[in-house]
Amino acid sequence: MASRTAWITAAIIIIIIIGAVAYYYSGKKGGATTTASPTTTAPPATTSPQTTQPTTTAPPTTSPKTTTTQAAPPKPVLTGNVEKDIVAIGKYLAYHGIHEAKFSVASAGDPNSVMRVYAIVEAAYRLNKILEKNGVDFRIKITTNFRRGGGDKLAQDFETAFQANKNPDIMANSYKWIARFAEEGYILDITPYVEKYQSFINEFYPSLLKAVEWKGKYYGIPQDTEARPLYWRTDVAACIKEKTGTDILANLYDKVKTGQVTWHEVYKYAELAVKTGCSKWGVLHRKGSAHPDLIQFIFAFGGQLEDPKTGKLVVDVPAVYKWLYVEWKMAREGLIPKDMMSWDWAKQIHPAVVCGKTLIWIGGTWHWTEWQTKPYCKGRPLTAEEVKKYFYYTLFPAGDHGDKPVTLSQPFVWMIASNAGKDNKEYNKYKDVYHMIAFLLVVKASDPDLIAIHSIISAHLPVTKKAAELINDKTWVQKLANLQIELSPEVKNAIADIVKKTVNEINVEFLANASKMLEYTKLTPMHPLYPRLANIFRDAVNYVLLGEMTPDKAVQYIISKVKADPELSKAVEIKGEIPKNWQFP
């Protein structure tokens, strides 16, 4: 009896569960179809594409079978002319009954870097305008996803989303992901397109184009970059001048540029600052990682990180040793804190720099505006005038006399997913064409004005010469400040507040000056195992700063760590030996 009741109860429960599951899924499907239209769309199309009557030049909107009078447009090929190409593509797809293409763009960064997605929205708007002007019944729609914070999480999510075809079609992220994504086939090899768009590609700084190349092929287009200046406190320098008569800052930019002031001199200046009591520390630098700021030491001492011939990573022993020696010596003399690698950004590092507790700060261009927005000293942010007053900046000086000064960039680049356009009609049939649209979107997003706007409002450096010229154009900058430039209403709206806060003469002047540093810029290798090597460098720097290892022990540590990792040992060459007669300072 009990058993029968149990069976009946169980049967009822199962039916309810099945019913609930079925209801949930039917609801989900319905939901998906109603929300399918993108939230962020670019084109203010005059009329709905479906109802537009094609003009005489436009292909028919009905099925190709009914077109008896017009020949089918040929399959488009890129020619290097954006207008011609988008029109050809639009006509081709419209002829085959496709009147809209959807693309998604994703990126990440500080809140001022929204142009990393809105440039694509604006690009779609501009391409749609061309299509409209030419009477082509085809439009591009964009959905955006911008995250605050670093791009690493976004890149990792991109990888996992790719497995389920849910990844963004276009992504602006650090160039460091290119090797990994290219190796796994996640991003599009755009070499054939780039070959057609030679004049477009020639506008970019050549040093930055290295950031989008992997094994001789192009996998992206530079989006923005930065430089890492050495900031010098003018008040500390003035104090040193008053007490000792040494004028550190006199013509310093040029002295660093010509290699007259090297790390040997920097050491002496730092020592002066601390000994005279003008500042507590001589030099401060980032915490927690050797990449990318401290890697500059390797380049400054004439070393390399990658062998261009073999493509292998390199531990350049003499350069690495000298770098570690500088850090070790400075920490022993109290010029740099022993526990620098575990300082707190907000409570220790920035307050010390902004309140003038150090002569030198190995920083980045973005700090210039960061100090204007965050209250690191005395409970309030600095004004633009104060930042200009307190901070002098130079390149990262040469290591020894005879070496060259450097800076280091980590460009953000546009990457196109190898399945870009996947959410569109008949994707498999017109895959190539959708890929071309994605490429044209990136080309258009690289219009000089869009790059210049992004640079100014986010304090990043422009990636093309034309954009740099625009930043130097005072009338244009003034127009931008008043938002009197040609932009889609959506993008204008999105950046209006940021423009108000950031576009001022001091910041623009800083950007223009910092852009000149790009001539000296170096990139870290794109090798997929580079992050592992950089982690070993990080531990070595920490050990020498703490005094746990001497510089030569630390070099041995690096070598033993490389050898202990079977993969790394195959991918890394150890070059050179610890220099014997080298003196520092």
């Binding site: 058993s3 149990a6 069976w7 169980a10 990792q156 990888e159 996992t160 790719f162 497995q163 990994r180 994504f181 190796e183 796994e184 086939g185 996640y186 915490k287 927690g288 022993k338 526990d339 690698m341 575990s342 300082w343 707190d344 409570k347 220790q348 992050p531 592992r532 531990d539 920490n542 050990y543 703490l546 005094g547 746990e548 033993s560 760590k561 050898k563 202990a564 990792d565 079977p566 993969e567």
Partner: protein
């Protein structure tokens, strides 16, 4: 047992069994399987079909060649053992203390000890981060400086002369404060379920508090002791959230502050070597299983679960 009875049992167990299958058995099988593939960068299409033992070879090579990886192993052993003792004995001590308190005081006191568990991991870790910060603004440093115990700020988790004990101590303190509350709750409720007559009788017979605890109370909560010990052991082996934040923020030494579970996480999500991570995780599961079984044996689990004497 007849067939229809077995069917009924299975039927009623099926929802639970399905959950166990979906959330425990399948992930375990997947982890073991992925450990034998070269999966990296989440490229399922490219690597999931390939069989290899390279991940295990790689891990073995690291274990024998990389001194930092042996630091991870040592840290895992010390952290798990010491924190386990702290959590079980601390939980027991707290439960006993609150048991003998007046109910109102006891309730407040117990609630206070629950705070670390209630606080979000990031916030809780941040509090400890600032507590152990190696700068004069760190809470511990500023306190000791003011008391004149130290004359300059100490980097507790990173100063080489204090390692590895400094890092270990921080990990144990941070996790210990979260862990004790678990034991406290279980033990307290177990103590509360001891019939009052036993305690009253013991008191009347002149038992001291210590005797009462040793002879009357502890024997009656043995089962709970076994449960909490094994539970804590397994969760300490696999915990990494607080530890991840503390190493990431640099308040403890990167290697002396990394446990095996965190190493698995870093391999999977930082270096992108999911095959290696899965192999490392499989090793951890195997160790956890062996330790679990050993503890059940040692603590006499079977003896405490005798067959019921009466008819069912």
């Amino acid at each position: 047992m007849n067939k229809s009875r077995l069917g009924t049992i299975l039927f009623f167990l099926s929802p639970a069994l399905a959950l166990v299958l979906v959330f425990y058995i399948i992930p375990l099988i997947l982890a073991i399987y992925i450990g034998f593939t070269p999966l990296r960068d989440w490229n399922l299409k490219a690597y999931l079909g390939k069989f290899t033992t390279q991940s295990y070879q790689y891990l073995f090579y690291l274990l024998t060649h990389d001194p930092d990886v042996s630091k991870v192993v040592k840290t895992t052993i010390v952290f798990t053992t010491v924190t386990l003792v702290v959590n079980v004995l601390g939980g027991l001590a707290l439960a006993l203390a609150t048991f003998f308190m007046e109910e109102r005081v006891s309730l407040t006191y117990r609630s206070l000890w629950l705070l670390p568990r209630l606080t979000p991991v990031a916030v809780y870790s941040l509090l400890w981060y600032y507590f152990f910060l190696g700068d004069a603004s760190g809470t511990l440093n500023s306190l000791l400086l003011r008391l004149g115990v130290i004359d300059h700020p100490v980097s507790w988790g990173t100063d080489p002369s204090l390692q590895p004990e400094g890092s270990w101590l921080i990990l144990i303190v941070v996790n210990g404060f979260v862990g004790v509350s678990f034991g406290m709750i279980i033990f307290y409720s177990a103590l509360k379920s001891i019939p009052r007559e036993h305690i009253i009788a013991a008191r009347i017979d002149g038992a001291t508090t210590l005797q009462l605890i040793r002879r009357v109370m502890l024997p009656q909560i043995r089962w709970h002791l076994v449960y909490v010990t094994i539970w804590q052991l397994l969760s300490l082996l696999t915990t990494f959230a607080h530890i991840f934040l503390l190493t990431e923020w640099g308040v403890v030494d990167r290697w002396w502050g990394t446990t095996w579970a965190l190493y698995v996480f870093n391999e999977a999500f930082t270096t992108g070597e999911q095959g290696v991570a899965a192999a490392a995780a499989t090793i951890l599961v195997a160790i956890g299983a062996v330790l679990g079984i050993i503890s059940l044996r040692l603590l006499g689990f079977k003896k405490m679960m005798p067959e019921p004497r009466g008819e069912l």
